[in-house]
Symmetry: C2
Subunit: 290 residues, 2 copies
């Protein structure tokens, strides 16, 4: 398994880390990158995450045998449409998008007859840091990587992509794009929305400075993901809005239930809920759900 | 400033850490403790957090010149009623409760004419760990300590308590019990409720194992406070239910607003909210609100 020329479209935390990991494992020859921010691309070059900066995605994918699209998901359709005609017939394409149904639909539109070359992928390795400067060859080590293969894919190509991510330390699993978007609406997209909502709720008040003054470690950890990239999360929320709304409705129902416990002074019900939640979290931390 | 005999009622994370810190700074002679769990009390003794275990609060406070009540807040009234008649006239009493209006009311009921000896205190040093085994002399270093003095207090006593917490590293400030409960409903009690709610929301589903399987670092940090002590948080939520409900309503309104943005596909509004929240959090982390 070796790729002569790898093209990274969007060399941020994920794209840059992927490239560094490939290089560390000697799984690739040359890596070229392209992206919107000149400063970030220079940082990527300086870090050795890429060997050359290309002006656009079309120039980047020329003669590539592997392409990773790691831009915010709202840009995918434009990117697929641009690169489609320029992909070699043996070139494999994958993405790192946090949503999958929209990405697959954009790929079908943009790649047309070359759709079989595209294997949708989602590395579960977000961080509140972004940009090539934060990239690290270790980012995917021990982290999950979800593939949502298409019926058009050749199994051998899916296996190549799976082996590639395994080689750089990821734990690869497969599901459908629909399953994927449901799962991540619950365990990732909703928590991000809630963290943003809480910080916004507090920061918009006249006494925000005093409130922040007394916010401590619990608040810091709870809101860590509210330091995530706003554009990236806008795109994720928009692309997965139906599943995210469904999760939001479930959560609102849960809050209604808890509000009623508070109103009725039902201390026993509240303690049971807290205890159940703590226990479930402990089981999760112990790896009982792996 | 030196206390010959200190009594700790409830020698958990907070009570144990307070005692260890006093000993480290040589601010006390003997420390005795009492608590409900024999195993925990033995751990406290083994760690050197206390020098002796007393059978109950009444025995513990006899001849003490400083008492710290660090039990779950629902037990305070019973404790104050029990110790009231046995407090020496020069003995100072303080607590470590996370709510203040209820604590003050319980103290007034229980201490009667000795209410001037009680200085309400709240160290902002929670952790998802609990028990004497997790105690540390460093727990309060750099952390905030809020005093909510009573009009009955002598200023000299309030100053003694403030100096004591300052000596073990805390940053002391003052507010009224009402202000306190409003501030902490927003920045502490609501986030705890939301974290518990999210874990419970997910763990109650038939596909919980698979969902947890894909929960990653963001989820872990967001829900860290859902590993907090259920009984302690039941008591806090009950004691401060009016302010907490008010915060919950505000948050539900915020979620309605965000839900409408998702429904309308208002990507710009969502991105602005995310960006504003991230900026506010960054300013907070930089200490701009201190």
């Amino acid at each position: 398994m070796h790729f002569e020329k790898v093209a990274i479209v969007g060399v941020g935390l994920i794209g840059g880390s992927f490239s560094l990991a490939l290089k560390e494992k000697k799984l690739c020859g040359r890596v070229v990158g392209t992206g919107r921010s000149a400063a970030n691309m220079k940082a990527a070059l300086a870090r050795g995450a890429i060997d050359a900066i290309e002006a656009d995605a079309v120039a980047a994918v020329r003669d590539a045998d592997l392409v990773l699209i790691a831009a915010p998901v709202a840009q995918f359709e434009k990117i697929f449409l641009a690169i489609g005609p320029h992909l070699g017939t043996e070139c494999l394409v994958m993405d790192a998008g946090s949503t999958k149904r929209d990405v697959v639909s954009a790929a079908k539109k943009g790649l047309g007859g070359k759709i079989s070359q595209f294997v949708p992928a989602h590395p579960i390795a977000g961080a509140e840091k972004s940009g090539a400067a934060a990239a690290s060859a270790d980012l995917f080590r021990g982290r999950r990587l979800v593939l949502t293969p298409l019926k058009e894919n050749r199994e051998k190509d899916v296996k190549t992509i799976a082996d590639l991510w395994t080689a750089i330390g990821a734990r690869v699993s497969r599901m459908t794009p629909e399953e994927h978007d449901g799962v991540f609406a619950a365990v990732s997209h909703l928590p991000h929305l809630l963290a943003y909502a809480l910080v916004d709720d507090i920061s918009a008040r006249p006494d925000a400075p005093r409130l922040f003054c007394y916010a401590a470690g619990g608040f810091r950890d709870f809101t860590r993901i509210a330091s995530s990239h706003p554009e990236m999360w806008r795109d994720i929320c928009m692309a997965n809005s139906d599943r995210l709304l469904a999760e939001l409705r479930l959560f609102e129902k849960k809050l209604k239930t808890i509000g009623a416990m508070l109103e009725k002074g039902d201390a026993a019900a509240l303690e049971k809920l807290f205890g159940d939640a703590r226990l479930a979290r402990e089981r999760w931390l112990k790896g009982e759900y792996e």
